[in-house]
């Protein structure tokens, strides 16, 4: 059950109509250089050996594919497996990408990096690899997010990164990307931008996908070893879309595998307070790419809302936008409330505290698992651990009790 070979993006950095390079002229040369460097360096044995060796010995790959027996029994339907990206060094999938990009930047002769961060996971993963590789890191983070994620800010600083508070606009992830891009334009000669998700101008969505695709590759092999077949469903949460893209990519040609991306419905997709760009957004251009966006009628970008800071972005990567229009991936959404309840469910039944982001994938997977027979199986990408969210949850539920 193979579809024709999937070869995206095309030579212009497009995924069908999506993607592209919508950036100021000053960045064009850096983007072209990055594309050339990626095409010539990343595939060499020398690069792959160093990358693979660090993924194994430093990040801790491969991560387990864990059969969640109690969760499956409790749900009473399909078998549920968890791809344990939460067990990576720094606690999420983000480091797969930051490690790859930092190694690439170093080989391009750039010893400084700039990055944006929302929840702080990408910032921590960037600061970590910069400490490891003796590089300078400047991380832009919205003032609102700094308030929400104080511990991650301190972690980044301990690791030697400079964290810059962004007070422009909505003071969240989208504005942190704006500031990081402005910083990059200003420091273009010696600085590489480590984009944290499958977003931005080409070649970033491709590079991030490729570095993250280790998730899907391992999952496929691990699942085959245990079940001697492919899973029926693969479910991942979507903010910008990097863990989902890394998980889905190796399965795209396997039509028998249903791929499901779960967006954040926040307080509900009818309320206007959500981050469901694919479910409720319109096509447009932001941060260098043509993709689905939350925007007003006259093209101003709107704020996203989710209890999970990592899903709080008003767009979804161009490749996801394409895969939705092609009908290859199904995109749905779950609310803050559903995600919180899935958070508790996994914590109590399996003793695994998931990130609020990943809890969105769990919530949807549990819904469909209950409707399926026991011979079907679902893999959830457990993209990160939930330690960072404990305070948010305590506050959210403390408030709820008083209402």
């Amino acid at each position: 059950m193979k579809m024709t070979a999937y070869k995206m993006p095309d030579q212009h950095g497009k995924y069908g109509a999506f993607g592209g390079k919508f950036v100021p002229e000053t960045l064009m040369n850096a983007i072209t250089e990055l594309e050339d460097a990626y095409n010539t360096i990343a595939s060499t044995d020398e690069f792959q050996e160093e990358f693979t060796s660090l993924l194994k010995n430093y990040v801790g790959r491969e991560t387990p594919l864990y059969f969640a027996k109690r969760l499956s029994e409790k749900t009473g339907g399909a078998k549920i497996y968890l791809k344990r990206e939460d067990l990576n060094h720094t606690g999420a999938h983000k480091i797969n990408n930051t490690l790859g990009q930092a190694l690439l930047a170093k080989r391009m002769g750039k010893n400084k990096v700039v990055a944006e961060t929302g929840a702080g996971q990408h910032g921590v993963a960037t600061a970590t690899v910069c400490a490891l590789l003796d590089m300078e890191a400047v991380i832009f983070m919205g003032e609102e997010d700094i308030q929400r994620q104080k511990l991650n800010v301190y972690r980044m600083e301990l690791l030697g990164a400079k964290v810059v508070s962004v007070t422009q606009g909505s003071r969240t992830l989208k504005d942190a990307v704006n500031e990081a891009l402005r910083y990059w334009v200003t420091n273009i000669d010696d600085t590489h931008y480590i984009m944290g998700s499958v977003l931005g101008p080409h070649p970033f969505p491709q590079i991030v996908r490729d570095f993250q695709s280790v998730i899907g590759k391992e999952t496929k092999e691990q699942f085959y070893t245990v079940e001697n077949k492919l899973p029926d469903y693969v479910v991942a949460c979507i903010g910008g879309g990097s863990n989902a893209m890394g998980m889905f990519y190796p399965f795209i040609e396997d039509q028998g595998v249903s791929l499901i991306g779960v967006e954040a419905a926040g307080k509900g997709i009818q309320t206007g307070f959500h981050a469901a760009s694919l479910t409720k957004g319109k096509k447009g251009i932001l941060h260098g790419a043509y993709m689905y966006l939350l925007q007003s009628e006259d093209g101003q970008i709107q704020e996203a809302h989710s209890i999970s800071a990592g899903l709080d972005y008003p767009g979804v990567g161009p490749e996801h936008s394409y895969l939705m229009e092609e009908g290859r991936v199904e995109y749905t959404s779950v609310t803050d409330e559903e995600a919180l309840s899935a958070f508790h469910l996994l914590t109590r039944t399996e003793g695994i505290i998931p990130a609020l982001e990943s809890s969105h994938a769990i919530a949807h997977a549990v819904k469909i698992a209950a409707e399926l027979p026991a011979d079907k199986s679902i893999v959830i990408c457990l993209s990160g651990r939930g330690d960072k969210d404990v305070d948010t949850i305590r506050k959210a539920e403390g408030r709820a009790e008083h209402e």
Partner: protein
Amino acid sequence: MNKLTERFHRLKENGEKAFVAYIMGGDGGMERLKEDIFSLQASGADVIEVGVPFSDPVADGPVIQDAGLRALEAGTTLSTILETLRVIKAQVRVPLILMTYINPVLQYGVDKFALDSENAGVSGCIFPDLPLEEEGLVTGALSKTDISVIRLASLTSPEERLKRLAEDSEGFIYAVTVKGVTGERAELNAAELEAKISKLKTYTNTPVLAGFGISTPSLAKKVLPFCDGVIVGSKIVNAFHQGKREEVDELIKGIKGLALTVK
């Protein structure tokens, strides 16, 4: 030949350099947009560049970001700007150009944008996030009008790229003087800029103007010998916001006075 090209021909005949004034459309409301345009025209600006506010202006520094936010809060849209320009069209002698990020144009509809801009008397457009590679998005619709697509060239553009930028260029080429965003600066690297602009000029007769960071006659004096004019933005946006029209008048007269004597 559109109004913009005509203006450059006349400047060339007179041996003058161009002064392009940037303002943020809708900062202070639509009445102020009209007043700003008339006051710049009276002071002797050669071209007026009207910025369309956008929520995420990645090429702009703090002054223009703030002006954009004020304009958005005042309810400004691409549509209200075009409507205002259409209303005052008969009184505007100076060529008008629009500076807009591409997403508001996409949502407005590229064909409608081209038509309505032409009806509003717009003779050129600058899209700061639409490089050569993506220009096709608008050129089909705009080529049916008399509106020029003004390209940007940067200090980081390699020679082969400068050549491609120069070929089929329209209106003028906007040479970005710094690696960075818009905003006033104390200094700029004139030698590096001169090398790029001289290179560009070997490939085209289209005028090349310098912008980003130019805010004083002394900075303008450094670049005018090797380019065809300057674009001043943040300085003017700030002065108008603070109600200091006379400062803008002095600046334009100062730079235009300089321009006449530079050969």
